[in-house]
Amino acid sequence: MADSTEDFEPLFDYSRVQPLNFVSLDDDDDDDTASPALSPKRRRIAKPIVIEDLEENTNVIQIADSGKNEELDWLSPPPKVSRNAQRTVVEDSTLKELRLKKKELESFAQSAEDVLRAVEESVKLQLGSSMQSSLEAVADQPSKPTCERVKIVISIQDKDGTKQFRIYMDDKFERLFKMYADKVKLDLQNLVFSFDGDKINPAATPDGLGMEENDIIEVHVKSS
Protein backbone atom coordinates (compact mmCIF):
# COMPACT_ATOMS: atom_id res chain seq x y z
CA MET A 1 0.00 0.00 0.00
CA ALA A 2 2.65 2.44 1.02
CA ASP A 3 4.54 1.75 -2.16
CA SER A 4 1.57 2.34 -4.39
CA THR A 5 0.73 5.68 -2.84
CA GLU A 6 4.32 6.71 -3.20
CA ASP A 7 4.15 5.79 -6.83
CA PHE A 8 1.13 7.99 -7.44
CA GLU A 9 2.30 10.91 -5.37
CA PRO A 10 4.38 12.75 -7.97
CA LEU A 11 1.48 12.83 -10.44
CA PHE A 12 -0.66 14.99 -8.18
CA ASP A 13 2.02 16.85 -6.31
CA TYR A 14 1.21 20.38 -7.48
CA SER A 15 3.71 21.97 -5.14
CA ARG A 16 6.42 20.72 -7.48
CA VAL A 17 4.81 22.32 -10.49
CA GLN A 18 4.04 25.65 -8.91
CA PRO A 19 6.67 28.32 -8.43
CA LEU A 20 7.60 28.87 -4.82
CA ASN A 21 6.51 32.55 -4.58
CA PHE A 22 2.93 31.60 -5.41
CA VAL A 23 2.88 29.19 -2.55
CA SER A 24 3.84 31.99 -0.18
CA LEU A 25 0.99 34.12 -1.54
CA ASP A 26 -1.45 31.30 -0.98
CA ASP A 27 -0.63 31.33 2.70
CA ASP A 28 -1.83 34.94 3.05
CA ASP A 29 -5.29 34.68 1.53
CA ASP A 30 -6.57 31.22 1.25
CA ASP A 31 -9.36 30.90 -1.29
CA ASP A 32 -9.60 34.09 -3.29
CA THR A 33 -6.00 34.65 -4.12
CA ALA A 34 -5.31 31.03 -4.52
CA SER A 35 -7.75 30.60 -7.35
CA PRO A 36 -6.05 32.99 -9.78
CA ALA A 37 -2.77 31.28 -9.13
CA LEU A 38 -4.27 27.90 -9.89
CA SER A 39 -6.63 29.09 -12.59
CA PRO A 40 -4.46 28.36 -15.60
CA LYS A 41 -4.17 24.78 -14.50
CA ARG A 42 -7.73 24.38 -13.41
CA ARG A 43 -9.00 25.82 -16.60
CA ARG A 44 -7.33 23.17 -18.65
CA ILE A 45 -7.92 20.16 -16.48
CA ALA A 46 -11.44 20.81 -15.28
CA LYS A 47 -12.71 22.60 -18.35
CA PRO A 48 -15.80 20.52 -19.07
CA ILE A 49 -16.76 20.09 -15.43
CA VAL A 50 -16.37 23.50 -13.72
CA ILE A 51 -19.33 25.76 -14.46
CA GLU A 52 -19.68 27.44 -11.07
CA ASP A 53 -17.59 30.54 -11.59
CA LEU A 54 -18.86 32.75 -14.39
CA GLU A 55 -15.64 34.57 -14.93
CA GLU A 56 -13.78 31.39 -15.35
CA ASN A 57 -16.43 30.13 -17.70
CA THR A 58 -16.05 33.04 -20.03
CA ASN A 59 -12.35 32.53 -19.98
CA VAL A 60 -12.83 28.94 -20.95
CA ILE A 61 -15.02 29.92 -23.84
CA GLN A 62 -12.52 32.40 -25.07
CA ILE A 63 -9.77 29.87 -25.09
CA ALA A 64 -12.00 27.30 -26.69
CA ASP A 65 -12.86 29.79 -29.42
CA SER A 66 -9.31 30.65 -30.12
CA GLY A 67 -8.40 26.98 -30.20
CA LYS A 68 -11.53 25.98 -32.21
CA ASN A 69 -11.33 22.55 -30.65
CA GLU A 70 -11.02 21.72 -26.98
CA GLU A 71 -8.53 18.98 -27.55
CA LEU A 72 -6.50 21.05 -29.93
CA ASP A 73 -6.46 23.84 -27.37
CA TRP A 74 -5.24 21.26 -24.90
CA LEU A 75 -2.54 20.09 -27.16
CA SER A 76 -1.39 23.38 -28.62
CA PRO A 77 0.08 25.37 -25.79
CA PRO A 78 2.96 27.73 -26.48
CA PRO A 79 5.61 25.25 -25.26
CA LYS A 80 4.97 23.18 -28.37
CA VAL A 81 6.26 25.96 -30.54
CA SER A 82 9.35 26.35 -28.46
CA ARG A 83 9.83 22.59 -28.61
CA ASN A 84 9.57 22.74 -32.36
CA ALA A 85 12.13 25.47 -32.45
CA GLN A 86 14.47 23.44 -30.31
CA ARG A 87 13.92 20.47 -32.50
CA THR A 88 14.81 22.34 -35.64
CA VAL A 89 17.97 23.60 -33.98
CA VAL A 90 18.95 20.07 -33.00
CA GLU A 91 17.94 18.74 -36.35
CA ASP A 92 20.10 21.29 -38.02
CA SER A 93 23.21 20.14 -36.24
CA THR A 94 22.44 16.46 -36.78
CA LEU A 95 21.55 17.11 -40.37
CA LYS A 96 24.88 18.77 -40.82
CA GLU A 97 26.60 15.78 -39.34
CA LEU A 98 24.60 13.44 -41.53
CA ARG A 99 25.42 15.46 -44.59
CA LEU A 100 29.07 15.36 -43.74
CA LYS A 101 28.93 11.61 -43.24
CA LYS A 102 27.05 11.18 -46.47
CA LYS A 103 29.72 13.11 -48.28
CA GLU A 104 32.39 10.96 -46.65
CA LEU A 105 30.62 7.78 -47.67
CA GLU A 106 30.12 9.06 -51.16
CA SER A 107 33.79 9.77 -51.44
CA PHE A 108 34.54 6.30 -50.13
CA ALA A 109 32.18 4.74 -52.62
CA GLN A 110 33.72 6.84 -55.34
CA SER A 111 37.23 5.73 -54.48
CA ALA A 112 36.08 2.10 -54.25
CA GLU A 113 34.49 2.41 -57.66
CA ASP A 114 37.67 3.86 -59.01
CA VAL A 115 39.67 0.96 -57.62
CA LEU A 116 37.20 -1.52 -59.06
CA ARG A 117 37.34 0.17 -62.42
CA ALA A 118 41.10 0.11 -62.34
CA VAL A 119 41.11 -3.58 -61.51
CA GLU A 120 38.59 -4.34 -64.20
CA GLU A 121 40.58 -2.45 -66.75
CA SER A 122 43.78 -4.17 -65.78
CA VAL A 123 42.06 -7.53 -66.02
CA LYS A 124 40.66 -6.61 -69.40
CA LEU A 125 44.08 -5.55 -70.51
CA GLN A 126 45.56 -8.80 -69.32
CA LEU A 127 42.85 -10.75 -71.04
CA GLY A 128 43.38 -8.81 -74.17
CA SER A 129 47.12 -9.26 -74.12
CA SER A 130 46.91 -12.98 -73.45
CA MET A 131 46.06 -15.06 -76.46
CA GLN A 132 42.57 -16.45 -76.99
CA SER A 133 43.92 -19.94 -76.49
CA SER A 134 44.48 -19.03 -72.86
CA LEU A 135 40.73 -18.59 -72.46
CA GLU A 136 40.56 -22.28 -71.64
CA ALA A 137 42.93 -21.75 -68.75
CA VAL A 138 40.81 -18.83 -67.58
CA ALA A 139 37.76 -21.04 -67.75
CA ASP A 140 39.54 -23.57 -65.59
CA GLN A 141 40.50 -21.07 -62.96
CA PRO A 142 37.06 -20.14 -61.70
CA SER A 143 36.01 -23.78 -61.56
CA LYS A 144 38.93 -24.61 -59.29
CA PRO A 145 37.64 -23.05 -56.08
CA THR A 146 34.25 -24.74 -56.41
CA CYS A 147 35.74 -28.22 -56.64
CA GLU A 148 38.28 -27.52 -53.91
CA ARG A 149 38.74 -30.56 -51.67
CA VAL A 150 36.43 -30.51 -48.69
CA LYS A 151 38.05 -30.53 -45.28
CA ILE A 152 36.49 -31.72 -42.04
CA VAL A 153 37.52 -31.67 -38.43
CA ILE A 154 37.87 -35.09 -36.86
CA SER A 155 38.64 -35.80 -33.23
CA ILE A 156 40.92 -38.63 -32.26
CA GLN A 157 40.03 -39.82 -28.80
CA ASP A 158 42.23 -41.82 -26.48
CA LYS A 159 41.67 -42.70 -22.85
CA ASP A 160 42.81 -39.30 -21.67
CA GLY A 161 41.10 -37.00 -24.10
CA THR A 162 40.67 -35.88 -27.68
CA LYS A 163 42.85 -34.17 -30.22
CA GLN A 164 41.35 -32.48 -33.23
CA PHE A 165 42.63 -32.78 -36.77
CA ARG A 166 41.58 -31.11 -39.96
CA ILE A 167 41.77 -33.45 -42.91
CA TYR A 168 40.51 -33.78 -46.43
CA MET A 169 37.37 -35.83 -46.91
CA ASP A 170 39.05 -37.78 -49.70
CA ASP A 171 42.40 -38.19 -48.02
CA LYS A 172 43.45 -41.66 -46.90
CA PHE A 173 43.48 -42.19 -43.17
CA GLU A 174 47.10 -43.37 -43.16
CA ARG A 175 48.23 -39.75 -43.41
CA LEU A 176 46.11 -38.77 -40.40
CA PHE A 177 47.27 -41.79 -38.42
CA LYS A 178 50.91 -40.96 -39.05
CA MET A 179 50.27 -37.36 -38.06
CA TYR A 180 48.69 -38.55 -34.82
CA ALA A 181 51.46 -41.06 -34.04
CA ASP A 182 54.04 -38.32 -34.51
CA LYS A 183 52.13 -35.99 -32.27
CA VAL A 184 51.72 -38.42 -29.37
CA LYS A 185 55.19 -39.90 -30.00
CA LEU A 186 53.95 -43.47 -30.19
CA ASP A 187 54.76 -46.19 -32.68
CA LEU A 188 52.08 -46.34 -35.35
CA GLN A 189 52.38 -50.14 -35.20
CA ASN A 190 50.96 -50.15 -31.68
CA LEU A 191 47.97 -47.98 -32.44
CA VAL A 192 44.59 -49.23 -33.50
CA PHE A 193 42.03 -46.73 -34.81
CA SER A 194 38.33 -47.44 -34.84
CA PHE A 195 35.18 -45.65 -35.92
CA ASP A 196 31.83 -46.76 -34.52
CA GLY A 197 33.45 -49.90 -33.19
CA ASP A 198 34.99 -50.93 -36.49
CA LYS A 199 38.70 -50.91 -37.18
CA ILE A 200 39.62 -48.29 -39.76
CA ASN A 201 41.51 -49.45 -42.82
CA PRO A 202 44.39 -46.97 -43.38
CA ALA A 203 43.52 -46.93 -47.08
CA ALA A 204 39.96 -45.79 -46.37
CA THR A 205 38.86 -42.14 -46.50
CA PRO A 206 36.51 -40.10 -44.27
CA ASP A 207 34.21 -39.78 -47.25
CA GLY A 208 34.15 -43.53 -47.72
CA LEU A 209 33.13 -44.10 -44.10
CA GLY A 210 30.42 -41.45 -44.29
CA MET A 211 32.10 -39.29 -41.69
CA GLU A 212 30.74 -35.95 -40.63
CA GLU A 213 32.18 -32.82 -39.09
CA ASN A 214 33.45 -33.45 -35.54
CA ASP A 215 33.08 -37.22 -35.69
CA ILE A 216 35.24 -39.15 -33.28
CA ILE A 217 37.85 -41.73 -34.12
CA GLU A 218 38.94 -43.82 -31.18
CA VAL A 219 42.50 -44.88 -30.74
CA HIS A 220 43.53 -47.89 -28.70
CA VAL A 221 47.10 -48.62 -27.74
CA LYS A 222 47.94 -52.28 -28.18
CA SER A 223 49.20 -53.87 -25.02
CA SER A 224 51.93 -56.19 -26.13
Binding site: S194, G197, D198, E212, N214, D215, E218, H220
Partner: protein, 185 residues
Protein backbone atom coordinates in the same frame (compact mmCIF):
# COMPACT_ATOMS: atom_id res chain seq x y z
CA UNK B 1 2.58 -39.96 -34.10
CA UNK B 2 4.55 -41.18 -31.10
CA UNK B 3 6.80 -43.08 -33.51
CA UNK B 4 7.85 -39.76 -34.99
CA UNK B 5 8.80 -38.53 -31.56
CA UNK B 6 10.82 -41.67 -30.83
CA UNK B 7 12.67 -41.52 -34.13
CA UNK B 8 13.29 -37.80 -33.83
CA UNK B 9 14.77 -38.20 -30.39
CA UNK B 10 16.88 -41.18 -31.48
CA UNK B 11 18.25 -39.23 -34.43
CA UNK B 12 19.26 -36.50 -31.98
CA UNK B 13 20.81 -39.05 -29.65
CA UNK B 14 22.84 -40.51 -32.48
CA UNK B 15 23.98 -37.06 -33.60
CA UNK B 16 25.09 -36.16 -30.09
CA UNK B 17 26.84 -39.49 -29.69
CA UNK B 18 28.87 -39.04 -32.86
CA UNK B 19 30.22 -35.75 -31.56
CA UNK B 20 30.93 -36.87 -28.05
CA UNK B 21 31.00 -40.18 -26.24
CA UNK B 22 33.11 -41.88 -23.61
CA UNK B 23 36.19 -43.75 -24.80
CA UNK B 24 35.73 -47.41 -25.64
CA UNK B 25 31.96 -47.24 -25.93
CA UNK B 26 30.16 -47.93 -29.17
CA UNK B 27 26.54 -47.09 -29.92
CA UNK B 28 25.13 -47.20 -33.41
CA UNK B 29 21.73 -47.88 -34.90
CA UNK B 30 21.36 -51.19 -36.67
CA UNK B 31 21.99 -51.26 -40.40
CA UNK B 32 19.76 -53.68 -42.25
CA UNK B 33 20.99 -55.90 -45.05
CA UNK B 34 19.53 -53.57 -47.65
CA UNK B 35 21.62 -50.75 -46.25
CA UNK B 36 18.84 -48.85 -44.50
CA UNK B 37 19.30 -47.76 -40.92
CA UNK B 38 16.89 -48.90 -38.21
CA UNK B 39 16.94 -46.28 -35.47
CA UNK B 40 14.82 -48.45 -33.16
CA UNK B 41 17.58 -50.99 -32.49
CA UNK B 42 21.07 -49.95 -31.46
CA UNK B 43 24.12 -52.18 -31.26
CA UNK B 44 26.40 -51.05 -28.50
CA UNK B 45 29.62 -52.02 -26.81
CA UNK B 46 30.30 -51.42 -23.15
CA UNK B 47 33.93 -51.63 -22.06
CA UNK B 48 34.60 -53.17 -18.69
CA UNK B 49 35.61 -50.48 -16.28
CA UNK B 50 39.32 -49.86 -16.27
CA UNK B 51 39.60 -48.85 -12.63
CA UNK B 52 41.92 -46.09 -11.65
CA UNK B 53 44.44 -45.01 -9.09
CA UNK B 54 44.15 -46.76 -5.76
CA UNK B 55 42.61 -44.37 -3.28
CA UNK B 56 42.33 -45.23 0.39
CA UNK B 57 38.61 -45.74 0.20
CA UNK B 58 38.73 -47.93 -2.88
CA UNK B 59 41.40 -50.19 -1.42
CA UNK B 60 39.04 -51.15 1.34
CA UNK B 61 36.50 -52.27 -1.17
CA UNK B 62 36.76 -56.04 -1.54
CA UNK B 63 36.52 -57.24 -5.10
CA UNK B 64 38.02 -54.10 -6.52
CA UNK B 65 41.58 -54.56 -5.39
CA UNK B 66 43.84 -55.31 -8.32
CA UNK B 67 45.79 -58.47 -8.78
CA UNK B 68 48.75 -56.95 -7.05
CA UNK B 69 51.17 -55.83 -9.71
CA UNK B 70 54.18 -55.02 -7.57
CA UNK B 71 54.76 -51.34 -6.94
CA UNK B 72 51.65 -50.43 -8.84
CA UNK B 73 49.00 -48.58 -6.91
CA UNK B 74 46.52 -48.85 -9.75
CA UNK B 75 43.59 -51.15 -9.12
CA UNK B 76 41.59 -52.71 -11.86
CA UNK B 77 38.16 -54.22 -12.02
CA UNK B 78 37.62 -57.81 -13.00
CA UNK B 79 35.62 -56.54 -15.94
CA UNK B 80 38.52 -54.66 -17.48
CA UNK B 81 39.59 -55.81 -20.92
CA UNK B 82 36.14 -57.04 -21.82
CA UNK B 83 34.07 -55.29 -24.47
CA UNK B 84 30.54 -56.42 -23.83
CA UNK B 85 27.96 -56.34 -26.58
CA UNK B 86 24.64 -54.77 -25.62
CA UNK B 87 21.57 -54.24 -27.77
CA UNK B 88 19.10 -51.46 -27.07
CA UNK B 89 15.54 -52.05 -28.26
CA UNK B 90 13.53 -48.83 -28.39
CA UNK B 91 9.75 -48.87 -28.60
CA UNK B 92 7.48 -46.39 -30.33
CA UNK B 93 6.75 -45.01 -26.84
CA UNK B 94 10.35 -43.97 -26.30
CA UNK B 95 11.30 -41.69 -24.59
CA UNK B 96 8.17 -42.01 -22.42
CA UNK B 97 9.25 -45.58 -21.89
CA UNK B 98 12.83 -46.81 -21.52
CA UNK B 99 14.56 -49.05 -24.07
CA UNK B 100 15.04 -52.73 -23.31
CA UNK B 101 18.75 -53.37 -22.86
CA UNK B 102 20.03 -56.85 -23.61
CA UNK B 103 23.37 -58.57 -23.22
CA UNK B 104 23.79 -61.94 -24.97
CA UNK B 105 21.66 -64.67 -23.35
CA UNK B 106 23.15 -66.28 -20.20
CA UNK B 107 25.39 -63.29 -19.55
CA UNK B 108 27.00 -63.75 -16.15
CA UNK B 109 25.90 -60.98 -13.79
CA UNK B 110 23.60 -60.94 -10.73
CA UNK B 111 21.34 -58.28 -12.28
CA UNK B 112 21.02 -59.71 -15.78
CA UNK B 113 18.12 -62.05 -16.55
CA UNK B 114 18.86 -65.36 -18.28
CA UNK B 115 17.46 -63.75 -21.44
CA UNK B 116 20.21 -61.13 -21.22
CA UNK B 117 17.89 -58.29 -20.25
CA UNK B 118 19.48 -55.85 -17.82
CA UNK B 119 17.68 -55.14 -14.57
CA UNK B 120 18.50 -51.60 -13.49
CA UNK B 121 16.40 -48.97 -11.75
CA UNK B 122 16.99 -46.24 -14.32
CA UNK B 123 15.75 -48.65 -17.01
CA UNK B 124 12.54 -49.35 -15.13
CA UNK B 125 9.54 -47.39 -16.34
CA UNK B 126 7.97 -47.56 -12.87
CA UNK B 127 11.12 -46.69 -11.00
CA UNK B 128 14.04 -44.56 -12.11
CA UNK B 129 13.40 -43.97 -15.81
CA UNK B 130 13.03 -40.38 -16.95
CA UNK B 131 12.62 -39.35 -20.59
CA UNK B 132 15.59 -37.02 -20.23
CA UNK B 133 18.01 -39.91 -19.66
CA UNK B 134 20.33 -40.13 -22.66
CA UNK B 135 21.75 -43.17 -24.40
CA UNK B 136 25.13 -42.16 -23.03
CA UNK B 137 23.79 -42.15 -19.48
CA UNK B 138 22.20 -45.56 -19.99
CA UNK B 139 25.44 -47.10 -21.22
CA UNK B 140 27.57 -45.52 -18.50
CA UNK B 141 24.96 -46.61 -15.94
CA UNK B 142 25.19 -50.20 -17.15
CA UNK B 143 28.99 -50.04 -17.09
CA UNK B 144 28.78 -49.02 -13.44
CA UNK B 145 26.34 -51.83 -12.73
CA UNK B 146 28.74 -54.45 -14.13
CA UNK B 147 31.31 -53.68 -11.48
CA UNK B 148 28.82 -52.85 -8.75
CA UNK B 149 26.01 -55.40 -8.77
CA UNK B 150 22.90 -54.73 -6.75
CA UNK B 151 22.34 -57.79 -4.51
CA UNK B 152 18.92 -56.55 -3.44
CA UNK B 153 17.54 -57.00 -6.93
CA UNK B 154 18.81 -60.32 -8.34
CA UNK B 155 17.80 -61.41 -11.83
CA UNK B 156 19.62 -64.73 -12.19
CA UNK B 157 20.43 -67.42 -9.64
CA UNK B 158 23.97 -68.38 -10.60
CA UNK B 159 25.49 -64.91 -10.66
CA UNK B 160 23.60 -63.89 -7.57
CA UNK B 161 24.54 -66.94 -5.47
CA UNK B 162 28.20 -66.80 -6.36
CA UNK B 163 28.31 -63.07 -5.67
CA UNK B 164 26.77 -63.61 -2.22
CA UNK B 165 28.41 -66.89 -1.24
CA UNK B 166 31.65 -67.42 -3.14
CA UNK B 167 33.54 -64.22 -3.88
CA UNK B 168 36.60 -66.05 -5.28
CA UNK B 169 34.57 -68.11 -7.72
CA UNK B 170 32.53 -65.07 -8.69
CA UNK B 171 35.71 -63.13 -9.46
CA UNK B 172 37.02 -66.01 -11.55
CA UNK B 173 33.85 -66.23 -13.57
CA UNK B 174 33.81 -62.51 -14.22
CA UNK B 175 37.39 -62.54 -15.50
CA UNK B 176 36.65 -65.55 -17.67
CA UNK B 177 33.74 -63.75 -19.21
CA UNK B 178 35.83 -60.61 -19.84
CA UNK B 179 38.22 -62.74 -21.87
CA UNK B 180 35.28 -64.07 -23.88
CA UNK B 181 34.63 -60.56 -25.14
CA UNK B 182 37.97 -59.21 -26.30
CA UNK B 183 38.25 -55.87 -28.04
CA UNK B 184 37.05 -56.03 -31.62
CA UNK B 185 39.99 -53.98 -32.81
Amino acid sequence: MSGGIARGRLAEERKAWRKNHPHGFVAKPETLTDGTVNLMVWHCTIPGKAGGLCLMLDCGNIGRIGNGAAGNSRWQTDWEGGYFPLTLHFSEDYPSKPPKCKFPPNFFHPNVYPSGTVCLSILNEDSGWRPAITVKQILVGIQDLLDQPNPSDPAQTEGYHLFIQDAAEYKKRVRQQAKQYPPIV
